[in-house]
C-alpha cells in the first residue's frame, strides 16, 4: 500500500551535496597527518616471470627514503574472493603474473624521492612463457600461471535444469551464435588512495578509498597477522567505485606495512595510469549461445558456454562466473537451460565485479540473440519479450523466487514509447544515416545472499535539540545511500532530513557490514535503519504517552513533533520529548539498534547455480534510439528510455541519477570502451586513449517507473540503477541491428566494426 510520506519518495538533495559542491568533502588522497611519508609501488614489467633476486640496498640509501619492502617482508598472505582459495599476494612472493603486479614498495619524505628510489630497486627476473589469451590458456600445454590450477581454470560452473536436449529437439526455431565482450574499466575518476598510521600501542588506523571498507578491515588483519581489534578502518568520501573498490589492494596493504616499518603515517595515492593497467577490469568473455523457441515465440531452451578471462588472480571471480550463468534464468521464463562456464587465468590485469557484475556480458548475448530470432521468425521484439516475461509468484528453474515484479508492465509501457518514437522518427534523409530502435530487459538482485556475514546493522542516537545521529556500516561511493538511509530514519522518526547526521564507516564505532555491492545497501541496510528508528520511537513512546497523558498507541511522530492521534492541541516538539526522556527521573539514554538480513534464502551454490539469491528482484526494460552513419561508421545514441520496477523509490532524483549514469556508461561499453593490450601490455592506459563517454554523448532520457511496492524492501523499495546497466548495451546493439540489419556480436561496436559489418552484409 502506498502511503503519504514526508521524506520517502521525495526529490530531496543529497545530504553531502553542499560539502561536495564547495570542495570541502575530503577524499583519501586529500588527507594528511603530521610526519606523514609518501609511498610508491614498483610494478612488474613482465607478464609472467620468476623473481630470482631483489636488491633494495641502493634504494634504501637514497636520502629521504625511510623504508623499502618487498614480498620477503610480508607473511605471504594471499587475498581472494573466497579466502580459502586466495591466490593474490599483495607484493609478489615468487612470481609476477601480469604487467603491473606489485613487486616492492617505498616510503619516503615525498613522492619524488619515493619515485627516485623505485628506480634504484634491482629486481632480477627469469622471464617465463606468458599466456594472455583465455582460449590458449585452457590448452593442456599452456604455461601454468598458478600451480594449483590445471589448464589455468580458476573456477568453473555447470548449471543444468530441465531436459535441454529434448527441449531443443521440440523447438521450431534454434539459433546459435558466438558473442564476445571486451575488457573494460570501472572508470572512477578518483584513483586508489590510502593513508595508514601505525602507533606504538600496536594499532593501525586506516583511511582508504574503499566502497566496502570491512573487506579491508578483515584482510588487513590477516595480511599483517595482527588481531582484528588492532585495526580501525575509517571511511572518507569515496570518488566512485562501481565494483572496482570493493577489495583490499596492494596500495592499502603497502601503506599499512610501510607505516608499521617506519612508525610514521604513510599515504599512497596511485596514478590514474596505474589504475588503468595495474588494477581491476570487467571480465572479457566469449559466449557461445544457443536459443530455442516455439513458433509463437515461447522460449523453450537455452544453452551457453562461457569463457571468462579472469586475468592473473581469482578476485571475486567465482561469484562473477556464477552470476553470468545463473542470470540466463531471469527475466524470462526458461524451462530448460544449461550453462557451462570457465573462468580462466591469463597473464593480464585481474577481472572483478563491475556494475551489473557478470550479468551485462551474458544478458548482452541473450538479448541480441533474441532479437535476431525475432526478426528471422517475423515476430516483434517487444511482443516476444512480453510473451516470456516472468510474473510475480513464479520460480525460475535455478530457484530464484519472484515476488514483486513489474516486468510485464514495463514491457507494455515500452511498446507505447516505441510506437511514439516511431511516429517522431526523423526520415532517413540522404539515406547515408540510418536510424533504429532497440530494447533490452533485465532482472537484478536487491542484495545477494552469499555464504558468510550478510547482516546490516544501524545505530541511531538522538540529541536533545532533536538532532539524530545515524550510524551504519554501509558506504556511499556516490550512489546516494547516505541520503536514502537518512530519509528512512527521518520518515520513521518524523523529523526532517536535515536533522539527520550520517556517520560514515568507522570500524571502531559503526556496525559490521558486508559492503556496497550487489545493490544491497538501500534494501538491506535500509531495513536495518528502519528497525533502529522504530526502536528509538518505541523507547520514546512511553515517555511521550506519560507526558501527553495518552495511550502510547495513539502517539504519532511527525514534522519534528509528537502528537496524540494527530491532534495539534496535544503535541510537543520532538526535541522536548528527547529532553524529557534524558532528564526526568533517572534519565534514559536513547540509542536505537536495528539489524536485518533477508530470511529463508537459500545460499546459491556457485557451481550448480541452485539457490535463491535475493529476497526481491528488480526488473525493467531499456530502450535506445541510434543514428548510424553508414559512410563513417559513427553511431550516435540519440535518445534512451528506461521503464523500471524498483518498487517504491526512496528518492526520485537520486534514483534518476543512478539510471542516467548507468545508461550513459552503457553507451561507452557498447560503442567505445575497450582495454587494448599487446602481449599483456596495456596500450591505452590513459583517459585520452580509453574513451569513456563525455558530455557530448549525453542524450535525451525518459524515465518511467512501474509502480510496485515490495513487501520486504524498506517502504517497498528495491534496487535501482545497477540492474539497468545490464540492458543498456543490448538495447543499443539491437537498435544498431534495427538500423542496419546487421547484428553485431562483439562489443564495443566501433566505427571500424560497423563499416566492416556493413561491407559483409552487402
Amino acid at each position: 500500500m502506498k502511503e503519504d510520506y514526508v521524506n520517502i519518495g521525495k526529490r530531496l538533495p543529497r545530504i553531502d551535496g553542499i560539502v561536495k559542491a564547495t570542495g570541502e568533502a575530503k577524499y583519501a588522497g586529500d588527507l594528511s597527518l603530521p610526519g606523514m611519508l609518501h609511498g610508491k609501488i614498483l610494478r612488474s614489467p613482465y607478464p609472467h616471470a620468476r623473481i630470482l633476486h631483489i636488491n633494495t640496498d641502493k634504494a634504501k640509501r637514497v636520502s629521504g627514503v625511510r623504508a623499502v619492502v618487498s614480498g620477503k617482508e610480508t607473511i605471504g598472505f594471499k587475498a581472494g574472493g573466497i579466502s580459502a582459495t586466495g591466490d593474490e599476494p599483495y607484493l609478489a612472493l615468487d612470481k609476477v603474473r601480469f604487467i603491473g603486479d606489485g613487486v616492492a614498495a617505498v616510503a619516503a619524505i615525498d613522492e619524488e624521492t619515493a619515485e627516485e628510489a623505485l628506480d634504484l630497486i634491482e629486481v632480477e627476473y627469469e622471464e617465463l612463457p606468458a599466456v594472455v589469451d583465455p582460449v590458449a590458456a585452457m590448452k593442456e600445454d599452456a604455461p601454468l600461471i598458478h600451480d594449483h590450477s590445471p589448464r589455468n581454470i580458476s573456477f568453473k560452473t555447470d548449471l543444468s535444469y530441465g531436459d535441454v536436449d529434448k527441449a531443443f529437439k521440440e523447438c521450431d526455431y534454434v539459433r546459435e551464435d558466438r558473442f564476445e565482450t571486451a575488457p573494460i574499466r570501472h572508470g572512477f575518476i578518483e584513483p586508489h588512495a590510502a593513508l595508514a598510521s601505525w602507533d606504538h600501542s600496536r594499532r593501525l588506523t586506516f583511511w582508504g578509498s574503499k566502497q566496502s571498507p570491512y573487506f579491508t578491515y578483515r584482510n588487513m588483519a590477516k595480511a599483517l597477522n595482527i588481531p582484528l581489534s588492532r585495526i580501525r578502518v575509517v571511511q572518507p568520501y569515496i570518488g566512485g567505485g562501481f565494483g572496482g573498490k570493493n577489495e583490499m589492494f596492494n596500495v592499502d596493504f603497502c601503506a599499512a606495512l610501510l607505516s608499521q616499518k617506519t612508525g610514521r603515517p604513510v599515504k599512497m595515492v596511485v596514478s590514474q595510469e596505474e589504475v588503468l593497467f595495474a588494477y581491476r577490469q570487467r571480465h572479457p568473455t566469449i559466449i557461445d549461445l544457443k536459443t530455442g523457441l516455439k513458433k509463437d515465440g515461447t522460449l523453450q531452451a537455452l544453452e551457453a558456454h562461457i569463457i571468462a578471462d579472469g586475468g592473473a588472480y581469482l578476485s571475486i571471480g567465482a561469484l562473477s562466473l556464477y552470476l553470468m550463468c545463473a542470470f540466463f534464468c531471469i527475466p524470462y521464463k526458461l524451462p530448460n537451460m544449461r550453462a557451462k562456464g570457465y573462468r580462466v587465468y591469463t597473464n593480464t590485469q585481474p577481472s572483478c565485479a563491475m556494475r551489473g557484475h557478470g550479468v551485462p556480458q551474458s544478458r548482452f548475448a541473450a538479448e541480441v540473440q533474441l532479437d535476431i530470432a525475432a526478426k528471422e521468425m517475423g515476430l516483434d521484439p517487444i511482443d516476444i519479450r512480453l510473451k516470456n516475461a516472468l510474473k510475480p509468484g513464479e520460480t525460475t528453474p535455478n530457484g530464484f523466487k519472484i515476488t514483486s515484479c513489474g516486468l510485464e508492465e514495463s514491457i507494455t509501457e515500452s511498446k507505447r514509447i516505441m510506437a511514439r518514437w516511431i511516429e517522431e522518427r526523423p526520415k532517413d534523409g540522404d539515406g547515408k544515416k540510418k536510424s533504429g530502435m532497440g530494447i533490452g530487459c533485465y532482472g537484478y538482485v536487491c542484495g545477494p545472499r552469499m555464504a558468510g556475514h550478510n547482516t546490516a546493522g544501524a545505530v541511531i542516537k538522538v540529541h536533545e535539540d532533536g538532532g539524530v545521529s545515524l550510524f551504519t556500516g554501509s558506504t556511499d561511493a556516490g550512489q546516494g545511500s547516505d541520503t536514502v538511509l537518512s530519509q528512512i530514519a527521518a520518515e520513521v522518526l518524523g523529523v526532517h532530513l536535515e536533522d539527520i547526521r550520517y556517520g560514515m564507516v568507522d570500524s571502531d564505532v559503526t556496525p559490521l557490514d558486508p559492503g556496497t555491492f550487489g545493490s544491497r545497501v538501500t534494501f538491506i541496510t535500509g531495513n536495518a535503519v528502519r528497525i533502529a528508528a522504530e526502536d528509538v520511537r518505541n523507547q520514546l513512546l512511553e515517555v511521550a504517552a506519560n507526558a501527553l497523558e495518552a495511550n502510547p498507541k495513539d502517539i504519532v511522530f511527525k514534522d519534528r513533533k509528537v502528537y496524540v492521534g494527530g491532534s495539534l492541541e496535544r503535541s510537543m516538539p520532538f526535541s522536548k520529548l528527547v529532553k524529557i526522556a534524558q532528564y526526568s527521573g533517572t534519565g534514559k539514554t536513547i540509542i536505537g539498534r536495528g539489524y536485518w538480513a533477508p530470511e529463508g534464502l537459500e545460499v546459491p551454490n556457485f557451481e550448480t547455480g541452485k539457490g535463491n539469491m535475493s529476497a526481491a528482484y528488480s526488473f525493467g526494460a531499456q530502450l535506445a534510439e541510434v543514428e548510424v552513419d553508414t559512410e563513417t561508421g559513427l553511431i550516435k545514441v540519440t535518445r534512451m528510455a528506461m521503464v523500471h520496477d524498483c518498487g517504491q523509490p526512496i528518492n526520485e532524483m537520486l534514483m534518476e541519477g543512478q539510471l542516467e549514469g548507468s545508461a550513459i556508461g552503457g553507451i561507452g561499453h557498447a560503442l567505445t570502451e575497450e582495454i587494448i593490450r599487446k602481449e599483456g601490455q596495456t596500450m591505452n592506459s590513459s583517459f585520452l586513449e580509453y574513451r569513456m563517454p563525455t558530455s557530448l554523448d549525453a542524450c535525451k532520457m525518459e524515465i518511467y517507473h512501474t509502480e510496485t511496492c515490495d513487501e520486504v524492501g524498506p517502504f517497498g523499495a528495491k534496487e535501482a540503477g545497477e540492474g539497468i546497466q545490464v540492458s543498456v548495451v543490448p538495447a543499443i546493439v539491437n537498435a544498431i541491428y534495427d538500423a542496419t540489419g546487421v547484428p553485431f556480436k562483439r562489443i564495443p561496436v566501433t566505427p571500424e566494426v560497423v563499416l566492416s559489418g556493413l561491407k559483409g552484409k552487402s
Binding site: K20, G187, G239, S271, G657, E660, I664, G665, S695, D697
Partner: protein
Amino acid sequence: MKKQIRLKVNGVEYFAWIKPHWTLLDVLRNEIGLMGTKKGCDRGECGACTVIMNGEAILSCLILAIQCQGKEILTIEGLAQDGKLDPLQDAFVKLGAIQCGFCTPGMIMASRALLNKTPHPSEEEIKRGLSGNLCRCTGYTKIIAAVQKASTTEGSR
C-alpha cells in the same frame, strides 16, 4: 632549488616556495592546502583539476606553478561568497548533479568559466564547454540541467 612565487588565490595573496617543476595543482593542494581541486589523472585528461586563472578555465595539472607568477586564480573554495553558494553550486546540489563528487569541483569551475563568457548558453554550448570534464556517475544529464538552471537564476539577478 626552490624559488618563490607570488600568487593570488581566491583573493588572498600567497608567497610560496616552489620547485620549478611543480604544477599549479600540486602547489594549490600541497603548499597552500586547498584540497578542493582534485587530482584525477595529473595529465590533462579528466578535468577534475580545473581552476580559473585570469578568467580562463585551465587544467591546473598542465601548468607549472612558476608560470603562474602574479596570476589571479579562482578555485572551488573561492566560489561561495559571504557564506552564500554560487548559483552553480546551488543548482548542482538542488538538481542532483552531484554523485561521488570527485569531478564536481572541476565541473563547477569549468561551468563557471563558461557562464562568465556565455551567460545563457544553449544545451549544445554547455555540452561542448564541459566536454573536457569526465564524470562516470551522473551521465551528465543533471549536470547540464544544473548549468542551465544557474544560467537562468543569474540572468534574473
